[in-house]
Symmetry: C2
Subunit: 189 residues, 2 copies
DNA sequence: TGTACATCAGTGAACGCGCGTTCACTGATGTAC
DNA sequence: TGTACATCAGTGAACGCGCGTTCACTGATGTAC
């Protein structure tokens, strides 16, 4: 891990972090392997050495994102509303990861670690929603879980897209408080 | 409007339609002015003549989208659930428009027609949600309206992103029915 | 019916750009004996 | 303690690509008289 002139030390992690940061600021389209290499002070071909290709880099970022999301959702449970808030909070605090996680077109579709991480996060979210409606028929439960997911994912997407920036609906300056308020108005039955 | 060898006849509309189609299929990233020109059988510089630049084209598409969305929401009202379904239906049937409408980074930020169309669509959606909760304090009303928007926008986004493709939550084959079912589980109070 | 002229729509050549990817390579590190 | 060797990390030159944008142009259309 030591920095020598030649070996960077921890290039892989550095590039992942820089990618997340740039996506958060400028969007996924702005990311290029060459740009990240420049940023890290390394030759332009170095990133490919770690990630194979550009999709490989974004896939690694998405995996990291799903793993963190699953952990944060699990830590927030079992109360449904707290799980919901945790989902939004993840998107707000890790926008670089969040933005890439659902861009399947940019990822290696057949990556097994990605599929596993995605599944785990999905399960964590659903178990949160299950708290809310213990004795329903499965079909009904699924509809509720989908509503819960849509609710939090929609808020996160609207926020990231800047749709709430000058909206009359955005009264709180703090997005997490705004999300809390809107989640509080919803009942499932 | 007649097709001659030289004049296309209705190139502007043709390009808009082709762009929407390609976004629906391949995503916004796949769109290029040169590609659309090729598709229309026209020189590569012709599209710029109508739209100024690439952002101009996407802005025109977004305006068209917001205008159509506003009309469809208004036609579906005043019942809240029908307005909600109409929002989702718009996204499902006009994915090429929907995908671009919220990509502010790709649009001319200062276009007045765009701002107006966006505002009109927002008002149509909010008036739908207002039905649900007539006698609330304004602050509370806004939270509810935001929840409603998040709900439908989230479903649309998840669907477009392919997140529901192999999900256990997706039981109906028909996305509109799926949306109806999930909207039905939600109460606002 | 004809002519002159302005306006609009589309052309085609040219520019410069940054990018992803490949590949033979070299420098550095660690491990086995 | 020293040496040989495999492995890993990063280099730098080269390739080919499609793209957006600009610009002077020409072909077609419509309108005024």
């Amino acid at each position: 891990m030591a920095k020598t002139g030649y070996h960077h030390g921890d290039l892989r992690a550095t590039i992942l972090a820089a990618a997340a940061e740039q996506i958060a600021t400028d969007g996924v389209d702005a990311v290029s392997l060459r740009g990240l290499a420049r940023h890290a002070g390394v030759s332009h071909a170095a990133p490919a050495h770690h990630f194979g290709d550009k999709s490989g880099l974004l896939t690694a970022l998405a995996i990291e994102g799903f793993e963190r999301l699953a952990a944060e959702l699990a830590a927030a449970g079992p109360d449904f509303r707290e799980v919901a808030v945790a989902y939004v909070r993840f998107a707000l605090r890790s926008p670089g990861h969040f933005d890439v996680m659902f861009r399947r077109d940019l990822l290696h579709a057949d990556d097994e670690r990605l599929a596993a991480a995605r599944t785990a996060a999905g399960a964590a979210l659903r178990s949160g929603a299950a708290e809310e409606q213990p004795d329903q028929a499965p079909r009904r439960q699924h509809a509720t879980q989908l509503a819960a997911w849509s609710l939090v994912h929609g808020f996160a997407a609207l926020w990231r897209e800047g749709a709430l920036e000058n909206s009359p609906l955005n009264e709180a300056g703090d997005p997490e408080a705004l999300a809390r308020g809107m989640i509080a108005t919803v009942r499932f039955d």
